[in-house]
């Protein structure tokens, strides 16, 4: 059974995923549904689909997942420059958002209450802070699933 999901595609397992992956088919389908919910929600608040795609591409680049980054970058529109981790978001007026996303993605353990209060001080509503966290958190999961599957595929070939 072919399964067309981002995680399996990026791990090179979508064509003939084999027994153990098929045994968890529902998990991969729900993972794809989660991607829809955080990347392309109906109610996206102030974070457009293009901006979400750019931030997702940025996190993928930070984790050296180039294929995944390319997929998200294709939907990033005018926000595409944000996919480059050295770009701080000043041109888009998103410095606080970008700094927060970088810290949550790459230095999770050191995130503290001040990181949330800084966003609130920058005028970002609580609901929109939760939306940023869900996007970031999902990417952490998706990237680790892809990376792990790739290792598993080689080890158990």
């Amino acid at each position: 059974m072919a399964m067309d999901t981002t995680a399996l595609n990026c791990a090179g397992l979508s064509g003939a995923p084999g027994g153990v992956v098929e045994g968890r088919a529902e998990i991969f389908q729900m993972t794809q549904a989660a991607e829809e919910a955080v990347l392309r929600p109906r109610d996206c608040g102030p974070w457009s689909h293009e901006l979400r795609a750019a931030l997702a591409a940025r996190i993928a680049v930070q984790n050296n997942e180039r294929a995944l980054a390319g997929q998200y970058l294709a939907g990033a529109g005018a926000y595409a420059p944000l996919a480059e981790p050295s770009h701080g978001g000043a041109a888009e007026g998103l410095e606080a958002v970008v700094a927060f996303m970088d810290k949550v993605a790459t230095d999770t353990r050191n995130v503290a209450a001040a990181d949330i209060s800084n966003l609130q001080a920058a005028g970002i509503a609580d609901a929109d802070i939760v939306r940023l966290c869900e996007l970031n958190a999902f990417l952490a999961y998706q990237i680790r699933v892809i990376s792990g599957l790739r290792l598993m595929k080689r080890a158990y070939a």
């Binding site: 027994g19 153990v20 992956v21 045994g23 968890r24 529902e26 998990i27 729900m30 993972t31 549904a33 989660a34 829809e36 919910a37 955080v38 929600p41 109906r42 109610d43 984790n63 050296n64 997942e65 949550v104 999770t108 353990r109 050191n110 995130v111 209450a113 990181d115 949330i116 209060s117 609130q120 609580d126 609901a127 802070i129 939760v130 939306r131 966290c133 869900e134 970031n136 958190a137 999902f138 952490a140 999961y141 998706q142 990237i143 680790r144 699933v145 892809i146 990376s147 792990g148 599957l149 290792l151 598993m152 080689r154 080890a155 158990y156």
Partner: protein
């Protein structure tokens, strides 16, 4: 006064949000549906009410979480908890670490492994199988590129089959997600008994 917990513990703390959770009285129909609020079930945690701000994500996340941690077959429930704990220790998510260390101890009917991990950290003296599981979860959580073929070889050598490894990947990765909500959006606290 509440005290923020900074050390790992199996004594599950209270989770105190850093943002204002959704007010149940003002929740939309979609939020109430995602929260599974019914006239006979109106008790919803502050954590879930916080996540209800992004109701589309909440709706898909809960069944995915349950599937990864509880679906039949593959890796044992206790070992999935160990994967979750490895991620939570890397990300210093005190709340998640407490919940999943407590579940591990309950399932194993022993506090031995989690006592050692909380006392000695990543260098704890673990059995071969737990060592391989914990090391992989830690490496994948620190940075996906740190997990390498040597971790897979250790898992194979410890006797894990492919289905078990898949469940370990999923449970460890899932806590990359959960930790970035729990640890980022709130504080683990002890509420004095007199205040409750």
């Amino acid at each position: 006064m509440t005290k923020v917990i900074t050390k790992f513990t199996r004594n599950v703390p209270h989770w105190q949000p850093r943002v204002k959770p959704v007010d149940l009285q003002a929740a939309t129909d979609e939020q109430l549906d995602a929260l599974k609020v019914t006239p006979s079930n109106t008790k919803v945690s502050e954590y879930v009410l916080t996540l209800a701000h992004d109701v589309e994500s909440l709706k898909v996340r809960s069944p995915l979480f349950n599937g990864i941690m509880y679906d039949r077959g593959g890796m044992s429930r206790a070992e999935r908890e160990l994967g979750a704990l490895g991620a939570s220790m890397v990300n210093h998510c005190i709340y998640c670490a407490a919940v999943h260390a407590a579940r591990h101890a309950q399932l194993e009917k022993s506090t031995d492994v989690t006592d050692k991990l909380f006392r000695d950290g990543a260098r704890a003296d673990l059995g071969r199988r737990d060592r391989a599981i914990f090391d992989f979860a830690v490496a994948l959580s620190e940075s996906p590129s740190r997990a390498g073929p040597e971790h897979m070889e250790a898992l194979k050598a410890a006797g894990l089959d492919e289905a078990e490894v898949l469940d370990l990947i999923l449970s460890s990765a899932l806590f990359g997600w959960a930790n970035r909500l729990m640890h980022v959006l709130g504080d683990p606290v002890r509420v004095p008994e007199t205040a409750s």
